[in-house]
Assembly symmetry: C3
């Protein structure tokens, strides 16, 4: 059960060009290609005639021709050429098309009806393109339900245990921990004045201070699009405008119910021109996800079998789960509301 | 759901000799071996005692001895030797046996009760053994329901798109297209007078004519046994008795509900002694099936999941699907009739 | 459906040391480790918080710390340390722990509530450690339900067919064959006076006699723990106290419903110091299981699909199946009784 009327990251803009790329999102195959005007077309990658992927066919101008029996579809999903001699009106033959927006270096796809797409709903990730931060990016596939990764990111208490090499000297429970809900957005905010920088911060902060004021914020938006920022600044300074910041983006796009495309970006405002640091961060962050978080989430999914109903397994709830539970509830409500709306629409159609 | 009272091709005669061959047909494992009189025995490859394949045991004369506890079965499926000292009457211990007919160089198996087998129901493929044609043959396994391949063969409109290298200069829609139903046999007949030969025909026809009368016929019999013939002759000549003909056989035998044994034969009445042409045809036809039709059908099956109920997926129906739909309806009816007959038999048995 | 209140072999004692070993038993992952007092701890290998295996975490003294969010569990399954600052009382956080007994060189695990474990229920395998026999041991994984292997061992009529290389000159039906049920223990007893020794016995018996009195006993205890002994002695001598004996143990521990850990031990009271004989037996017995019994049982399971309900497949029942059927009935009854007891307990709890 996926939320449809929301934006999912389909991939970095650079993934999409003239060649057709097929990528499964919310368990639907989608064919992406860049049109002659430079924008990205996205079609349900399935011919309505024999269900084969349109991406197995050929691109013709801004259209896709099915490689089996030759039906051709425009970027609006409407058939614009069909085998001559057939009785069908091509304009009545369709495959679903999706709205795509490019922002912050990524292509975002709206999985509901394209005409309902609301670009204003794309959450703010301007740190990626603002120039203020040097960013590294990566991708991994996780064999687990996307919310299990959301849980991981909204509960940083795991850093002490799963990532001892990057955790600071202090235990997360010594930090002030606040959960804020703002509409459908959830914030998990950690802060601690006058604490020792972690090993990684020490290296790049660029300050000789033995202590600083620390911050660790994570923001969630439906369905599983997260922003995080870890920061340290001089004791008493304004952490909003000073210090060492490492904002990051975590775009979790369900491939299927139990597998997730994980696109990540991590930025820094120190040592921005140091290529060694860039290489270290790209490799280091990728390794943390691939060898620590990924396997742990996959073990969790495996223990749940193919189930995606985490709560049905009656997990023990700890204090640190507060943000994850809020996010889970909001997503459940959004999906339920969406289904009810579709349900009532269906009823109206019957009445007409 | 498979039709039982019908002939399936088990394989070329040369596949079956003294050694026991196990092949899954209609999702039943069958053990084949050639008896001392040269005919082929076919037993349900499953001992009724512990269900293990009889083909894991030993052949003894014309019987098969189970390799686990020694029950032995004759080619009629009746136990003809059992562990001494047991109380059971061996003649009451049975595994199903199947009727096998060899014709046109292939072994045909009747999947219903052997005593009901009707050899006269084997469709005509005399082109293979008539001597009139030089034939090449091959095999591939397709991970798709057999009717999806039937659809492929009964709708040659795909040739223009899936096999551009062998399609002629004209589009299939320019051909006269007729579907004929004769009892339980379906014919899809394409014809076009005064047209340009295709590239392949040009090479082998043996005529310098720039144009000829063309023909493309496909015949279907249940469950999925197809004959096809593509021909070209001089304009105005009798195409039945002259010109270049390339008859072919397509024996589609379900292995399971979603995988199919595809045995094919392709013949030609020109350049019959040219070994280079023979090699080219064997390689070329095999490659077309393995790299073009096979992957497309497998993509179609994959898009349908494990489902075999094609119509439940609400496909768009085009004019070129007419023959495939007829074949599908006939097979459905034959299966339904067979099940009703079995049902009424069962009732009678209860009455007795 | 597994019997819980019974002993299963988890593995040879030497498998378990300081490092945590995770092994799936009755479809539950279990984490084993040897405590500082030398005894073996066994915990359900699943943290109640996020379900990940505790074996992915770290051992701390006699406890296991979860590698995800740091909950720590003692060998009694009770949480003994948790992330500081949490509101939960750690003593209320538990994972199941299991009783483990070491006997005869093997670790036995009781899959029911640890406090109900009855060490006296471990069947007698003192031949392994008595010193009277030189023993070899091995392990294989069989992709089949454990009762299919029980059937194999309780019906030695298969030896003539599946292991012709080790069967004697006589057919099993020439032996006296008795099935005895003693409480929940089943014995299958074969005996034959004045018969020729088999090839293997001839080599090691150490007697020049052309004939001897033979014995072949197999004992079953729930769920699938078997003892076997094949013996030969001089005609008329007391076979209990003389002759060549090859006792063996067959510990069949369900991994899942359709896969089984098979731990085996085979002993001999002749040529005990001959290392060549030891090597031959270790290799020979292992090969018999891996290349003959294992594949046959796996073929049987495959023919049954994923089903574990053997009788639902309506097997032919032969005289030699008598012992296997008794064992199957007893296990069914034990499981049913256990479920009814659990059911009535549940009712009482409701009444309270």
């Amino acid at each position: 059960m996926f939320l449809k009327n929301v934006w999912y990251v389909a991939g970095p803009s650079s993934d999409f060009g003239e060649d057709v790329v097929s990528r499964r999102i919310c368990d639907r195959p989608v064919a992406f290609y860049r049109k002659s005007d430079g924008s990205i077309a996205a079609l349900h990658d399935r011919c309505p005639h024999r269900f084969v992927p349109l991406s197995m066919g050929q691109r013709e101008d801004d259209s896709l021709r099915c490689g089996y029996h030759g039906l051709r579809f425009g970027p609006d999903g409407v058939c614009d050429d069909k085998p001559a001699g057939d009785q069908e009106n091509p304009a009545k033959i369709c495959t679903q098309h999706f709205a795509v927006e490019e922002r912050y270096g990524y292509a975002w796809i709206w999985m509901g009806e394209a005409e309902n797409a609301k670009p204003a709903m794309i959450p703010d990730f301007s740190f990626i393109t603002s120039g203020e931060f040097k960013c590294e990016a990566g991708y991994l596939k996780v064999q687990g339900h996307h919310e299990l990764i959301t849980d991981n990111l909204l509960d940083l208490s795991h850093v002490n245990y799963l990532h001892p090499q990057i955790s600071g000297g202090s235990h997360w429970s010594e930090w002030d921990n606040r959960v804020e809900v703002d509409g459908n957005t959830v914030w998990s905010r950690l802060s601690r004045p006058n604490q020792k920088p972690g090993a990684f911060q020490k290296m790049l902060w660029g300050s000789d201070s033995e202590r600083g004021d620390g911050r660790g914020d994570v923001r969630w938006d439906a369905p599983s699009v997260l922003y995080a920022n870890t920061a340290i600044t001089e004791v008493g300074a304004d952490i909003e405008t000073s210090g060492f910041h490492t904002p990051s983006a975590h775009f979790l796009t369900p491939e299927t119910a139990t597998s997730t495309h994980y696109f990540w970006v991590t930025g820094r405002n120190m040592a921005k021109d140091d290529e060694k640091v860039s290489a270290m961060m790209e490799k280091g962050v990728g390794e943390v996800f691939e060898t620590q978080d990924g396997p742990m989430v996959e073990a969790e999914q495996e223990a749940m079998g193919n189930s995606t109903d985490f709560l049905a397994h009656k997990p023990l709830i700890l204090k640190a789960d507060a943000a994850g539970i809020r996010a889970r509830r909001i997503l459940r409500k959004l999906i339920r509301d969406e289904q009810e709306t579709e349900g009532s629409t269906a009823v109206q159609e019957v009445v007409e």
